[in-house]
């Protein structure tokens, strides 16, 4: 665990130091700059999809899977309202109700 933390600190601080402290004369390639814009959406989707569609390991698209309606609600509310917190709360409410009402 110590090792995991130390490695994460090293990687993150190294990135932040890169230009501010060691960056005289280095330039950032344009293609990489463009590619980085797709990192957040890709990582977050890659984390969400397997949990929402296959919470027990196997793909479960039935109405017994409360993750699916909860996730869809969070996404739809975020899309329409642009309010992250409202979207999380609505998603959580649907997920909770679903677990409670659907066997």
């Amino acid at each position: 665990m110590w090792l995991i933390l130390a490695g994460m600190v090293g990687v993150t601080y190294g990135i932040r130091l890169s230009f501010l402290v060691f960056g005289h004369g280095i330039t950032f390639p344009h293609w990489l700059e463009r590619a980085l814009r797709y990192v957040p959406a890709s990582v977050l989707t890659a984390l969400v999809v397997p949990i929402a569609l296959a919470p027990q390991g196997g793909i479960d698209l039935s109405w017994h899977n409360p993750y699916l309606p909860g996730t869809v609600t969070a996404m739809v509310v975020a899309w329409w309202s642009r309010q992250t917190l409202a979207a999380i709360l609505c998603g959580f409410a649907v997920y909770g109700l679903w677990r409670w009402l659907v066997p």
Binding site: T12, R16, A41
Partner: protein, 238 residues
């Protein structure tokens, strides 16, 4: 007003925005079974929200350390871009200032400070403004992490309450906000598909594979989209 306090004041909306994520992070980490020292250590020493969330998910899923480091690298690589953008303003500062400001570099401080320095670059005052924004973000994040840890510890059996869903909802909401852009939509679809198909790979390697696929798909989709636009404009003028 003193520049240090002006920097902290201008960062205030960001503090409010980060607060719920700090609480959710602390609560989730404890709920996922991370020890308190590791939860607080991630906020105190890594100090990068999205990579901290990803780390909780990976650590509780039993991922190998190199996979966690590599994912941290990919998730936080955008900070190199901020580091490069702010370099012209930091160049005149003493070395120890640059080491310190780099440690506290976040999305929020970058947004506030870059905007301020682009319009009013006052040398030493600019550095104090930057430091004010940095320390406000840092103190705020530690405070809300501690609150989250406290919530996580005082609600027993948090994991069985479906708290793992809170993280899914948080990520899904953040992604949904970005899907209006066509290349981002392509990136997300590709990453989601690969993540689903590769979910049984060991050490959570599927996450890396899915991220790489998503990023390259977004990149290609953007190039394709731009080319389409350029050629239709060309036809229009002909």
């Amino acid at each position: 007003m003193r520049p240090f306090f002006a920097g902290a004041r201008d960062t205030f909306p960001m503090l409010v925005g980060a607060a719920p994520f700090g609480v959710i992070f602390g609560t989730l980490a404890i709920g996922a079974g991370l020890p308190v020292w590791l939860t607080l250590g991630l906020s105190a020493f890594v100090f990068a929200g999205s990579s901290q969330f990803v780390a909780v998910s990976l650590i509780s899923g039993g991922a190998a350390a190199p996979v966690i480091w590599l994912t941290t690298l990919v998730v936080n690589l955008r900070h190199a871009l901020y580091s490069a953008t702010l370099l012209p303003y930091a160049r005149p500062l003493p070395e120890r200032w640059r080491w310190a400001l780099a440690f506290w570099l976040t999305d929020e401080t970058f947004a506030v400070v870059e905007n301020q320095l682009r319009h009013h670059n006052h040398g030493r005052d600019g550095a104090h403004y930057w430091m004010g924004s940095s320390l406000a973000m840092y103190g705020n994040w530690q405070l809300w992490t501690v609150v989250g840890v406290w919530v996580g510890q005082s609600v027993p059996g948090l994991a069985t309450l479906g708290l793992d869903f809170a993280m899914v909802a948080t990520f899904a909401a953040i992604v949904a906000l970005q899907l209006r852009e066509r290349p981002v939509l392509c990136a997300a679809l590709a990453a989601g598909t690969v993540a689903l198909l590769a979910r049984d790979l060991p050490y959570k390697l599927g996450l890396m594979l899915a991220t790489m696929t998503g990023v390259s798909t977004g990149w290609v989709a953007e190039a394709w989209h731009n080319r389409g636009k350029a050629s239709s404009e060309g036809q229009g003028s002909a």
